[in-house]
């Protein structure tokens, strides 16, 4: 009965596609036969199929042509051909967003939805709900309610699912159908049950009590549908998580009982829910793990995949719980589905012993090229974790990683490998040379600028300290010849570091620099000129300041400025160049600042830049100079009080500005002339208050206080302020926000605000601490020993010192190696006014912690301040 397609097509074999060369305009032309009487169902059906096929291929229909075709299609409702009618519903749904005035079919659909023909009713409901909006929905509400409880499952399901789609748009209307949905939930049909449960949950999800009641009811009565069980398990585990109920909760018992359900889908859902629960202990995990273990030998690939993927997650937190499955996992290594095999191996890597590592690695390398990038990243992560666990295996890993690095792969994959190699180098000094050699080889042919600059920076940092630095020079200089500007600039910086640290290489480096000075790019040229001049001075102090530690200290754009200074030899105050305030975490971002300065994705303005701009706009704060440091916000009130106030401390050369961000949480009050009065405990002098004029309900506003730091006593770095919020209250209408004319003064006591030594010091990362230490020199060096009786571990002591002084730990010295009872911590910073401060702190663990602090700075007062505040 279906129209045979063109004979020719049929003869040309299976390669033909009757829809292949469809022209939209030709199809729309054909659609005119919709208007012919009598209707020819077969031809019309074929044309509708073509239209839907075109829409499905992503063909674009203009509003005009779509509307025209849509209106012609509406005539087809006169035909009683079943398939044709069903295709009309589909066309309505597909065109709902393209055509105009689709609502004209509402009455036809309503008729079908309530008619006798069951085959029409379900699809008609779904089409109707697709084109209905909130106002029209009320007109069909009665029919919807009836449909939800209809005894024909397809009708009821259709109504429930359509209601679910409409919850987003018309929550208030759909909410009224809860009773009908409740009734549908006790239907015998498994899909109706599932859909009803889904709708009920969506309507009630914000009411925890109602959800809990609903769970209680359904978990007791028992359901037939495996889908509904899965949904119940999800709801139950979410509720468990929210209420932080323990594992003795009946909900947990319910989930555990689902492990014995006869449907694999339900069993898996329950096992997965248990595995994903936070704070699960080995005892609760055991039954879940044992069902997953059974699934590992299932003939269904999807089930094996699901099981091993979940076991892999368990292994991250509880490797010992998975050890029992090792044998089953071993069998999966040869699985024909490579995703399953990879997951099995990475799981084994987490749970297995050191001796099995070699074998597993060999297995992976046999098929690593066949798996998708996502899984390759999983493999790399597993290796990375393994290296930390078994540092002695680093040579096997390094070999493997270097092979992976040579294969094809996307950016994410390569980056994961490079990060992994870098972390191995940092953890294992003996692997440094091999690692650097692999990375050198990689940048020879690397299309990712970010990775190339990152590696060049690492080479510059680590290369000069290796036994034979000269071999890296060739790789670096090749970059200068072959790569893009950003990479060339990074290569020049790396070269300079070699020249600065290795005297015998210096002459050759200078020759190379000279060539770089003829580069076509400004940045590369500037850097080369700058480094050339610094290197020619042959002064250790200059090298330390401008080559090893210079880059991170000052904003990248100022690099050119510095080059200019070197050339013109004019006096120039370096201290007026603001410090780069990237939040420095040594591990990852230390490579970034200079290397990325030329990349298209420029970093946005930092938090401090934003504050600087805001403050500069206030007339009272002009003439304070550039902003030195901005602290993190400090809460001065409890979280849920009438007024919420937090303070941000801005430090300038001789002043501090306190910014109070206030929020009024009372909707019947308008506050005016809001300010925070401050009473200092030391010789700090409050110069100005800048009040916030208006503080309406829930709109945050800021007021400021300007404080002068005591000039005659520079050692007074800490001070406590008692603070009081003062304001004029005007009562107002909670609904309109209209205030009364009269108000009264009131005040509100805030918590005390502390200024500490950390507020005067800006963190600075010195990648080469020793060089910086020599550069500052021992003119103002002081040393003192303290006993920290209350501190029990070195880790704790290190943490305390860092947070107290607010300085940047260098050389990864913030990490205390395990099982050591002495440690040296290196800290660097810049004191207010621009003096470098370096602290070397030797810690020894005996009963408490004994700490010998050595401070160096370019200014004696600063040294005294630090020591005084530590003591």
């Amino acid at each position: 009965m279906i129209k045979k397609f063109d004979k020719k097509d049929e003869e040309s074999g299976s390669g033909s596609n009757p829809f292949q060369h469809l022209e939209k305009s030709a199809v729309l032309q054909e659609a005119r036969i919709f208007n012919e009487t009598p209707i020819n169902p077969r031809r019309c059906l074929h044309i509708l199929t073509k239209i839907i096929y075109l829409l499905n291929q992503g063909e674009h229909f203009g509003t005009m042509e779509a509307t025209e075709a849509f209106f012609a299609m509406t005539r087809l409702f006169q035909s009683n051909d079943q398939t044709l009618r069903r295709m009309c519903y589909l066309t309505i749904k597909e065109m709902a967003n393209i055509s105009e005035d689709v609502i004209i079919v509402t009455s036809s659909l309503t008729k079908d939805m309530t008619g006798k023909e069951d085959v029409y009713r379900g699809p008609a409901i779904r089409a109707l709900c697709r084109i209905t909006d909130t106002t029209m929905l009320q007109a069909i509400e009665r029919y919807m309610k009836q449909a939800i409880v209809d005894k024909v499952p397809s009708v009821s399901s259709s109504a429930l699912v359509s209601s679910l789609h409409m919850v987003k748009m018309s929550y208030d209307v759909v909410k009224r159908w809860v009773n009908e949905a409740q009734e549908a939930a006790s239907s015998d049909n498994i899909m109706v049950q599932y859909h009803a449960l889904g709708l009920l949950y969506h309507l009630r999800k914000n009411d925890r009590l109602a959800v809990s009641k609903m769970l209680n009811k359904f978990t007791k009565s028992g359901l037939k549908s495996p889908f509904a069980y899965c949904m119940l398990i999800r709801i139950a585990s979410k509720l468990l998580e929210e209420t932080e109920a323990g594992h003795d909760s009946p909900l947990f018992d319910f989930i555990e009982s689902c492990l014995r359900n006869k449907h694999e889908m339900v069993v898996y859902e329950a096992a997965s829910a248990i595995v994903h629960m936070p704070n699960c202990t080995a005892r609760e995990l055991a039954p879940a793990v044992s069902v997953l273990q059974l699934f590992c030998s299932s003939p269904k690939a999807a089930l094996r995949y699901a099981a091993v993927r979940t076991l892999n997650k368990v292994a991250m937190k509880h490797p010992s719980a998975v050890t029992a499955c090792n044998l089953d996992l071993e069998n999966l290594i040869t699985d024909s589905n490579r995703s399953i095999a990879t997951l099995a191996i990475t799981t084994l890597l987490k749970t297995g012993s050191e001796s099995s590592v070699d074998r597993l690695m060999k297995q992976i390398s046999s098929f690593v090229s066949e798996i998708s990038d996502e899984f390759k990243v999983v493999v790399v992560q597993a290796i990375s974790a393994l290296c930390q666990k078994y540092p002695r295996k680093h040579s096997v890993m390094m070999n493997f990683l270097s092979n992976m690095l040579r294969d094809d792969g996307g950016f994410e994959y390569k980056r994961a490998i490079v990060d992994c190699i870098i972390s191995i180098i940092e953890e294992n000094p003996e692997s440094k040379e091999t690692g650097l050699a692999h990375l050198c080889e990689f940048i020879e042919d690397c299309e990712h600028t970010v990775l190339a600059t990152k590696i060049l920076h690492l080479l510059g940092k680590e290369g000069p300290r290796t036994p034979s630095p000269s071999k890296y020079i060739r790789f670096i200089f090749n970059r200068v010849v072959l790569e893009s500007e950003a990479v060339r600039a990074a290569a020049v910086s790396a070269l300079a570091k070699f020249g600065a640290q290795n005297d015998d290489l210096l002459p050759s480096v200078l020759v190379l620099m000279q060539r770089c000075m003829m580069d076509s790019d400004d940045e590369v040229r500037d850097r080369a000129t700058f480094y050339m001049n610094v290197l020619q001075q042959k002064q250790k102090a200059l090298n330390a300041a401008y080559i090893f530690n210079g880059e991170n200290t000052h904003c990248a754009p100022s690099l050119n400025l510095r080059a200019l200074v070197e050339l013109t030899q004019k006096p120039f105050d370096m201290k007026s160049v603001p410090l780069a305030n990237t939040p420095i975490t040594e591990q990852k971002t230390e490579f970034a600042p200079v290397a990325t300065s030329k990349l298209p994705e420029k970093p946005g303005p930092t938090r401090q830049d934003i504050y600087q701009e805001q403050l500069a706009a206030i007339p009272e704060f002009q003439g304070l100079g550039s902003l030195f440091k901005t602290s993190e916000a400090v809460q001065l009130t409890e979280a849920e009080t009438e007024y919420v106030v937090r303070c941000v401390k801005h430090t300038f050369a001789r002043h501090m500005v306190f910014q109070f961000d206030c929020t009024n949480t009372l909707n019947d009050q308008l506050l005016q002339k809001v300010m925070v009065q401050m009473e200092p405990s030391e010789a700090y002098e409050v110069l100005h208050y800048v009040p916030a004029a208006n503080l309406p309900y829930s709109q945050p506003g800021s007021c400021y206080s300007l404080v002068r730091l005591p000039e005659d006593d520079p050692t007074a770095v800490s001070c406590t302020f008692s603070c009081t919020l003062k304001y004029l209250v005007k009562d107002c209408d909670p609904n309109t926000g209209e205030p009364d004319d009269d108000g009264y003064d009131d005040e509100y006591v805030l918590e005390d605000l502390e200024v500490t030594v950390a507020d005067h010091i800006q963190k600075v990362l010195k990648p080469n601490f020793a060089a910086a230490w020599d550069e500052v020199g021992d003119d103002f060096e002081k040393e003192e020993t303290f006993a920290l009786a209350s501190v029990r571990t070195l880790d704790e002591a290190v943490g305390n010192i860092i947070s107290f002084l607010g300085m940047q730990p260098c050389e990864r010295s913030d990490k205390v190696p395990e099982n050591k009872n002495s440690h040296i911590l290196f800290l660097a910073g810049v004191f207010r006014g621009g003096h470098d401060v370096l602290v070397r702190s030797r810690l020894a663990l005996a009963d408490g912690v004994t700490m010998q602090v050595t401070v160096r700075s370019s200014d004696e007062t600063v040294v005294d301040i630090i020591l005084a505040s530590v003591g």
């Binding site: 259709s158 899965c230 999807a302």
Partner: protein, 168 residues
């Protein structure tokens, strides 16, 4: 699960031919909003799956279950947090329904000659990302497509009988 419990399970249903060309594609959310992104995704999916005989993969952060038959590739796509077996249920239902409708002739040409049957079947299996039905018998029954060689009148009678039997 870190996601909200929800009935929205399926992100896409795809059928590609053995050149990786789209025969059918229905996306239920905005993971791939434009046709260009969709086609790129389909290309990636096809290149990763057409040579292997396995039935599940993780691609672009999504779980993809698939099945191939002669010159057709069927895919069901869901979030990586989704229960893989649910997605599998959808895939099996789609395949079995088509297999019945096409009288076990699940191949490209037969499918192209019955596109309307495919459209209607998928519409009965998944609605806006929600699994509407997972039983192929029900789907075939609801699509109620007339077979080519069964006369119209006879078909209706069988159908009426079936309906009677089902709901009596």
């Amino acid at each position: 699960m870190d996601t909200e419990p929800s009935l929205y399970t399926v992100k896409a249903v795809l059928i590609l031919d053995n050149d990786g060309e789209r025969l059918y594609a229905k996306y239920y959310d905005d993971t791939y909003p434009s046709v260009k992104e969709q086609k790129a995704f389909e290309k990636n999916i096809f290149s990763k799956t057409h040579r292997t005989d396995s039935e599940i993969a993780l691609l672009e952060g999504l779980t993809v279950v698939y099945k191939s038959n002669i010159d057709l590739f069927f895919y069901v796509v869901g979030s990586s947090h989704e229960n893989e077996l649910m997605l599998m249920a959808v895939l099996n239902c789609l395949f079995d329904s088509l297999s019945q409708m096409l009288r076990k002739n699940v191949e490209r040409r037969a499918l192209l000659e019955n596109m309307e049957g495919l459209f209607l079947a998928v519409d009965e299996i998944v609605d806006g990302g929600v699994i509407l039905e997972s039983d192929p018998q029900q789907v075939v029954h609801r699509v109620a497509l007339r077979g080519e060689d069964v006369p119209y009148s006879e078909q209706t009678v069988t159908q009426v009988m079936k309906t009677k039997l089902k709901w009596s």
